[in-house]
């Protein structure tokens, strides 16, 4: 027997919950970035599970799109983190409370 659709949705929901609480608890910008990646992966898992249980390839294509957006987000987000580290010598989000330098 195979695990049902509900098991995959539950795994995805638990991973999303861990990622969402991690974004709030982490103070490190890199840690928050990694928690967002975890949430994106949890959503990918629901797409693939529904794609399997409805035998439709569209879900897997959406996963491909989400991965592209995650790659773009990694490039731009890490660029922002490096630029911020140059100005503040820190990646703590509490130090990002001032917009003007």
């Amino acid at each position: 027997m195979e695990p049902g659709l509900a098991s995959y949705l539950a795994l995805s929901g638990i991973l999303f919950t861990i990622g969402a609480t991690g974004v709030i608890f982490k103070r490190n910008a890199l840690g928050m970035f990694m928690c967002i990646e975890l949430m994106l992966n949890a959503v990918n898992l629901t797409f693939v599970a529904f794609s399997r249980y409805y035998a439709d390839v569209t879900g897997q294509l959406f996963v491909f799109m989400v991965m592209s957006v995650a790659a773009a987000e990694a490039a731009v987000g890490l660029g922002i983190i490096i630029a911020f580290f140059r100005n503040r010598i820190s990646v703590d989000v509490d130090d990002a409370s001032i917009l003007k330098n």
Binding site: G4, G13, T17, T21, M34, V48, F64, G79, V91
Partner: protein, 194 residues
Amino acid sequence: MVTSALFFLFAGLAIACAISMVYHKNPLYSAISLIGVFIALSCVYVTLAAPFIAAVQVLIYAGAIMVLVIFVILLLNLDDDRPLNRLKYLYGVGVGLGLILLVQTLFIFYAVARTPNHGVEMNESVGKTLSIGTAMYSEYLLPVEIVGVLLLMAIIGAVMMVRRLNQPELEKVVAEELTRRNEAQEIGDYRISL
């Protein structure tokens, strides 16, 4: 039965690695735990009969994005013991949000498990590289091209953000590059002029 056992093994691994990622203060330990989550999820995709997505998951997430993240962590050389000065109410908000999301997850599990199973349609071609490629370049051609433009914008944005030159320096660099190209064109060597 084997699929079920493998699913629960890798689901447990993914959840354990995710909790370890949130728990660790050192970003490098978090990053390595996150790689564990990605690899466990890729094994879960294999139990869902999606080998292409599993391979792409390992290649892009564990291979490209996490290498970039670890590179940045090592480059910045962070220390992890800073005094805690974050707003205190955020901890309450975090716990509350986590509980709400967890209750929603349990509700979805309950609701989906109660509905009568309509049976998996055993279409073996779905999830193979051929079906994904066919759909990508026929029905979903426009979204794929938009994703290409998005990636180009991300590259340009990342370069613009990280460059350190101010305006006079930038103009000087551009002028030097232009004179170099003009000289190369006069010589007639097209490889250099590119």
